[in-house]
Assembly symmetry: C2
Homo-oligomer: 412 residues x 2
Amino acid sequence: MSAFSRRRLLGWTGAGAAAVGVGAVAGCAAAPAAPGPAQRVVPFRGEHQAGIVTPAQDRLHFVALDVITDDREELRALLQRWTAAAERMTAGAETTPGGATGGNPNSPPDDTGEALGLPAASLTLTFGVGASLFAKVGLDPSLVPPGLAELPRFAGDQLDPALSGGDLCIQACSDDPQVAVHAVRNLVRMGFGTTAVRWSQLGFGRTSSTSTSQETHRNLFGFKDGTNNLKAEDPDGLRDQVWVPADARPAWLAGGSYLVARRIRMHIEIWDRTSLVEQEVIIGRTKDEGAAFGAAAEFDPADFAATDETGAPRIAVDAHIRLSSAESLGGVRILRRGYNFVDGSDGQGHLNAGLFFIAFMNDPQAQFVPMQRALSTKDVLMEYIEHTGSAVFACPAGLGEGGYWGQSLFEA
Amino acid sequence: MSAFSRRRLLGWTGAGAAAVGVGAVAGCAAAPAAPGPAQRVVPFRGEHQAGIVTPAQDRLHFVALDVITDDREELRALLQRWTAAAERMTAGAETTPGGATGGNPNSPPDDTGEALGLPAASLTLTFGVGASLFAKVGLDPSLVPPGLAELPRFAGDQLDPALSGGDLCIQACSDDPQVAVHAVRNLVRMGFGTTAVRWSQLGFGRTSSTSTSQETHRNLFGFKDGTNNLKAEDPDGLRDQVWVPADARPAWLAGGSYLVARRIRMHIEIWDRTSLVEQEVIIGRTKDEGAAFGAAAEFDPADFAATDETGAPRIAVDAHIRLSSAESLGGVRILRRGYNFVDGSDGQGHLNAGLFFIAFMNDPQAQFVPMQRALSTKDVLMEYIEHTGSAVFACPAGLGEGGYWGQSLFEA
């Protein structure tokens, strides 16, 4: 009834691809001359997980999951199956060699099929664990890394428990939303009975570049966002601020990073009624060019000491870029990887829109906490935004051949 | 503080573009050699509204609005301002020549700015009115077109009033979600005090091609969707099934069409646990190729009379493609233009996912109603889906130079 077939990779015939292992698929998929962006394959394995310093793709599907078993071995078996499927999907293949239509036709397919025919589209899948996981499956409390300590309540927080926390997270980024959604949906499907969706968030229009090769995009306040972001081309910055050091304790997170997620609802209607001058003063940059006040171009360094003819600071003392700057925070920086979102309407005549903030760092208590404490108490932007969701996950280092998600933790 | 600037169009300098009217912008924007898809400009004015037979773009932002004034002139003035802004945005420009950063810096900007630097990305904006509009602003009841009659309640309907109806609708389609969201957000902003968002829906991965130049995409059940759709290259089909005839009454809708929207939640978790055979029997097509049973290729015609060796129909009597076929419905067809969606999670461990069905036709009571009645009572697929939102809008014909949205109605 159904022909045996596989997802078509860059013009390979289904039959040709079928006999080849995933490693080979990933290797060859990048081979044809000048593949378009949709064809790009990001390696799944490596020193660090993909999806952190990978140049930020344009679309996001982020899911936080509850573990609904207390059986650690059951969870570990799922993580092994997830890893195999994730590796295949990031190479542009279906979850299993049988995939969507090539298995036993009298069984549910191993793959839901909506990505059949679609290329890899730079898919990355990034895995993390939350503090609530450890007790749930009986992991030794000494394995809880210090960065998973609960965040303090910040001024103005309006956190919805249904949009916060989670035992596990998977961040899917791709240049094609259907590819990102397909990946999350299939991992969720495979977890049925072992994990359940706690919350999930779609995003578009990446608002932070993570590479100097990328142009800065704009958030829904209309400003370029993430100009001063930590970028892939700054190895010293990544070493100092993003990657957990090799000698850190617990050892299972060495080479990994912490992911802080905050769902930030923007009251765009109120913002839209403020003047251009006020918007720019609040941010500390021009809206058009994105240059810091007193500078000419977007990437010119901000001069926080500069004053105008009256002696007042050119960049206001409570400007967003000053409060969040390394200069104000004792050298602290983070690697941001956020996305814009619109989640329908709020039932009160407005769009339910905002920024899904994602940032990676090696010490949330020393990096995110002081930054958010400064912003939540001093940033005028707080009048226009509201944090409605929050979560912190520990994302282990990248995997070598044969390794699986969470292995360093489960075999610690 | 802010340089005067305009959205950059295809390498034009801001200063060059600023002095040129919108008509010229639209004309010239397509001029450079071999523009990429992101650069494509779809003409705003023409015999019919864009966004109906326009090759379906990949992303959707659909908004239904309530009119919150009873002052018809106030609404008409808004429609005129909307039209000017919509025409500019579909050409890749900001809402006004002053736009995001070029107006009075002490006033709120005319444009929210998040599309600064982005090209037109095939943006179309399609406008419609719902039955509830007429009484609200005192329009003559004889102007209510027959196709806006309330839809019957279909078997299994689980309609949420908060996701249904609306006095006005705007369908924004683009290849870039940020461009579609920017357009809707700015029109909503301009309507503040006159209109309010009733509901809004984002979509991705268009599930119906509207042109033979497009490949068929897949819905979240993993099947190619819309293979047999009415397409732009079928002028007789469009004349008979989509466009309201020139001699129809009321005359203001001549050359227009009706838009039927249905938010269809898919219970993907249940679907994912059915066998490939069962999925294919329910649909009547193979999952891989999308060929009707008994046919070899996707676009081979379905033979509904064919039987297998036992004498049973090859395509089941209740197969989805049979029930929705022109053959079963006395020749009725519709032009579908739906999108996949994932709206986070449902709070019960599942993704809130499905298909946002949009279809255009010239007689909903004679086209959509019998089709949906057949599907809602006989289609096994109903076990896996649930209609959670519903709306019908009358979309007037396209605009000539100087015309504005709703003019034929407001000046009838």
